[in-house]
């Protein structure tokens, strides 16, 4: 028994990309991102995925498609 209702804008708004990591190293005299900071930025992207999945779960509940 589907109960369609418009999705709240909060659930459909684009999720912004996390900011780029700081350029704490230098390459040929120019500031550059250190590899360690680059790897650590994966954590930010993991956070984006978590947020997206949380909103997907909420969307499923709101549209009565279960919680999975």
């Amino acid at each position: 028994m589907p109960a369609y209702r418009p999705l709240d804008r909060r659930l459909t708004a684009p999720i912004p990309a996390p900011p780029p990591p700081p350029a704490n190293c230098s390459y040929q005299g120019q500031p550059a991102v250190c590899v360690l900071d680059g790897l650590l930025s994966i954590i930010q992207w993991q956070g984006v995925r978590e947020r997206a999945n949380a909103d997907r779960a909420t969307s499923a509940t709101v549209t009565n498609q279960g919680t999975e």
Partner: protein, 150 residues
């Protein structure tokens, strides 16, 4: 004497004729009554049958209506319950996102601290990302920043 006998005979004939006449009339009357009664009974039977049919139809309609009402009620209750669940999920949404954000900040801080404190990570902390990869990951700005200076 002869005349008297004749008189009685005539009287007898008259009485017989009257009786026959009465009998015939009566039979005709009875037939008429029976026909009328039969016709009336037919009409009554037909009316009774019509009424029974109408009553049965009305009962069936009432049953159908009750069933439809009950189904609509079930549907309405279900929709209201789902609406409540939806509203609760929407109400909890911002809180959930805030919680995830806080957990992420916490995890980031811990990971950065651990990484920068660990001497085994020191090489990576000094090593710059090469421009080609930086450009792919963080755009041309990062690539320029990383030093393809012409």
């Amino acid at each position: 004497m002869k005349l008297a006998t004749l008189g009685w005979g005539v009287l007898g004939l008259l009485v017989l004729a009257a009786a026959l006449e009465w009998h015939g009339h009566h039979r005709g009357y009875d037939d008429g009554v029976q026909a009328t009664q039969a016709a009336a009974k037919k009409q009554v039977d037909a009316a009774v049958a019509d009424r029974q049919l109408a009553e049965a139809q009305r009962a069936a309609d009432a049953l159908t209506l009750a069933t439809v009402r009950r189904e609509l009620k079930t549907l309405k209750d279900g929709l209201e319950a789902q609406r409540a669940i939806s509203q609760a999920a929407l109400d909890a949404r911002d809180q959930l996102q805030n919680k995830l954000g806080k957990l992420l900040v916490q995890r980031t801080v811990e990971a950065q601290r651990a990484a920068h404190e660990d001497p085994q990570c020191a090489d990576l902390a000094r090593l710059p990302v090469c421009p080609a990869v930086a450009g792919q990951l963080w755009g041309p700005a990062a690539s320029d920043q990383a030093g393809t200076s012409h």
